[in-house]
């Protein structure tokens, strides 16, 4: 049972570099929070401040209402999994997992029971007497997880725990961690640079850039309603298409391409004074569709474009082309045999398009829902 609160947290290094600025977050008991962002965005620093490995330059950090700023890591009752597992190489798997319990002076039989339970949960029963050197990457990762769960800590921190595993194992461990969380319900904070991990595991995602939170929300929320162009581009793969253009007469005009904007979107764009102005349109590749016949094309809001590259990924095909002078990726069904050099009609599902202010990159949205999302 634990609720954590970070209030106006800043981290400065050497009084010059600001790694994290004005970080505010409330995590409810049992949540699985994923901090995601490109490397150097300050996500690991936030985690290390929560762990107590890094001092908080200013601001407040509470666990269950208790101020933790000056509490040493060992008294914070947290567990942490590190990127390189940080297993003690001279100890067996059992001793690695029992280390924290021994320090906390648990009775021997109790330690044994707890370690064995955790080992069973993670499928490590047969490896308890091995040294970390004799384990595979996935097994080491499991031991690191086991070491954290035996202590039954209030808060579970993970710093890019899967980034040293190969793709297949990563996929597997991702599901396993999610399963573990569902079972233990320990409040968790997970750091990664991989947006897929963030999308699949999080109950809420926090997207960071240059030490500043860009958006906090459920995976669906941040995917469907990105706060700004950075979030739109970072979440989702292949990433969102962005086109710079202008709004004229309910049409979005980029270079010489005209696209009709649905009236409900046009209403709030007009309301906020974007009519006739430069802005950025964002649309996800899966919201660009391929049209087959010319007749159909004439009826809908479509453009003719020459395909530059066609990539079959398995379930889908990615079509690379140009919208005027700007690059565009469309994700279409794999069965459409479009080849490079072909001219095809593409149409935009404009209900799913987003408009961003060109200067700030912030999404322009209907004023009412602003309150809801924020």
């Amino acid at each position: 049972m634990s609720k954590i609160v970070l209030k106006n947290v800043y981290k400065h290094f050497d009084k010059k570099v600001t790694a994290v600025s004005d970080f505010n977050l409330t995590v409810e008991d049992g949540e699985f929070i994923v901090l995601v962002g490109p490397s150097g965005c300050g996500k690991s620093t936030v985690l290390r401040m929560i762990a107590g490995l890094e001092e908080i330059s200013s601001g407040e950090f509470y666990i269950d209402g208790k101020l933790m700023n000056d509490v040493p890591p060992k008294s914070r009752d947290i567990a942490m999994v590190f990127q390189n597992y940080a297993l003690y190489p001279h100890m067996t798997v059992f001793d690695n997992m029992a280390f924290g319990l021994k320090i906390r002076k648990f009775q021997k039989d109790k330690i044994k029971k707890r370690v064995e339970e955790a080992a069973e949960l993670l499928g490590l029963e047969d490896l308890l007497h091995r040294k970390p050197k004799a384990l595979s990457g996935g097994q080491r990762q499991r031991v690191a997880l086991g070491r954290s769960i035996v202590r039954d800590a209030k808060l579970f921190l993970m710093d890019e725990p899967l980034s040293n595993l190969d793709a297949k194992l990563r996929f597997q461990m991702r599901a396993e961690i999610a399963k573990l969380h569902q079972r233990l319900k320990t409040t968790s904070i997970y750091v990664t640079h991989d947006q897929t991990e963030a999308m699949t595991m999080a109950s809420r995602i926090i997207i960071m850039k240059d030490g500043v939170i860009q958006q906090i929300g459920t995976p669906k929320d941040v995917y469907d309603n990105p706060e700004n162009t950075f979030v739109g581009g970072f979440i989702g793969s292949p990433s969102m298409n962005f086109f710079d253009g202008r709004i004229v007469n309910s049409q979005f005009i980029a270079d010489d391409v005209h696209i009709n904007i649905p009236e409900e979107k046009m209403a709030y764009l007009r309301e906020q004074g974007y009519a006739g102005k430069e802005l950025t349109m964002g649309i996800r590749p899966e919201h660009i569709h391929l049209l087959t016949g010319e007749e159909e094309a004439e009826l809908t809001n479509s453009i003719l474009s020459k395909i530059i590259v066609s990539e079959l990924t398995g379930a889908d095909t990615l079509l690379y082309s140009m919208l005027g002078t700007q690059e565009m990726i469309a994700e279409v069904e794999s069965r459409t045999n479009v080849t490079a050099g072909e001219d095809v009609y593409l149409t935009f599902n404009m209900d799913c398009a987003h408009f961003f202010d060109k200067e700030t990159g912030v999404r322009i949205r209907p004023e009412k829902s602003a309150v809801l999302v924020g």
Binding site: A51, P73, K74, Y88, H90, G100, R104, R147
Partner: protein, 301 residues
């Protein structure tokens, strides 16, 4: 198709057939090279070992033969009894026990204390760490003889003269070289290990004891050997601070053979060899760590 396969097969066969001669050639070349290497190294070794041989040969000669001119290369008469006479010439049993006591204390002190200090310098961030470490290192530049007299004055004011304290206590205050050596080793241990232990609830002392010490064993062995060597072979320290014959160490004991008028070279050499023996045995067993210590000194790992 078949023709092509046949041709390929033939080519392979030819290649296999020509292989032995080709390898033979390289073999003889290698053999010759290693022979030259061996001769050069053997010659060098003999040169370096010649003083040791001189010691051994002298230790087995009679005093009369030692004095003959020209000197003999090996003894005419092998006086193995010299060794027993040497040991009985003074209370060497007591000296040996004294030396072992001092050496053990010095080794224990050096290993634990230097490791603890090095852990602090490598893994505990604190203000002024860099400057403090630089100061510690700079003490390496001060020749031991400069501090000899102040140290003597200090110890005499503490009334430690004629006790083992001046020989043992300094080992419990760390030495710059060992601190440096161990710190370099600690730097190779990932910080994550220390951080993981911290989060698990371990204090720095505990981390040092349960994780630091076991993981730095190779470097600790190096420190143990170097400090053993230093304490065992120390002559000046015991000479300065010990007056009572019952407290003498082996190195001091050897002095009985050096009279004012003449020196009993054969006994002195026999005694020196006996005293040297433990160091040589130690070296044979722990060569690896000796070499590692020297490598660490030059910055490699």
């Amino acid at each position: 198709m078949e023709e092509v396969e046949m041709a390929a097969k033939k080519r392979d066969e030819e290649r296999v057939a020509s292989a032995p001669a080709y390898f033979d050639n390289i073999h003889t070349k290698r053999k010759l090279l290693s022979l030259i290497n061996f001769i050069l190294l053997a010659a060098g070794s003999l040169l370096i070992l010649s003083p040791i041989w001189w010691m051994i040969s002298t230790s087995l000669k009679s005093m009369a033969e030692v004095m003959t001119y020209p000197p003999t290369f090996y003894p005419h008469e092998w006086n193995w009894g010299n060794y027993i006479k040497t040991w009985k010439a003074a209370p060497f049993d007591t000296y040996a026990i004294n030396t072992i006591t001092i050496t053990m204390l010095v080794v224990i002190g050096s290993v634990l204390v230097n490791s603890f200090i090095a852990y602090g310098f490598a893994k505990v961030p604190f203000k002024g760490r860099g400057i403090l470490f630089a100061i510690v290192l700079s003490t390496m530049m001060i020749p031991g003889f400069v501090t000899l007299i102040p140290q003597y004055v200090l110890f005499s004011k503490l009334q430690w003269i004629n006790t083992y304290y001046p020989l043992v206590v300094p080992a419990f205050f760390g030495s710059a070289f060992f601190i440096f050596l161990l710190r370099q080793f600690y730097m190779t241990i990932p910080n994550e290990l220390i951080e993981a232990a911290k989060i698990e609830g371990a204090s720095h002392f505990r981390i040092w004891w349960t994780i630091g010490l076991p993981l730095t064993k190779p470097a600790l062995a190096t420190v143990a050997i170097f400090s053993f060597n230093g304490a065992w072979n120390d002559f000046l320290g015991p000479l300065l601070y010990l007056n009572d014959e019952n407290l003498y160490t082996l190195q001091l004991g050897l002095q009985v053979f050096k009279g004012e008028m003449n020196t009993q070279w054969n006994y002195l050499m026999a005694g020196s060899l006996l005293v040297l023996l433990p160091v040589i045995i130690l070296f044979f067993f722990f060569q690896k760590y000796f070499i590692q210590g020297i490598n660490l000194q030059s910055g490699g790992k």
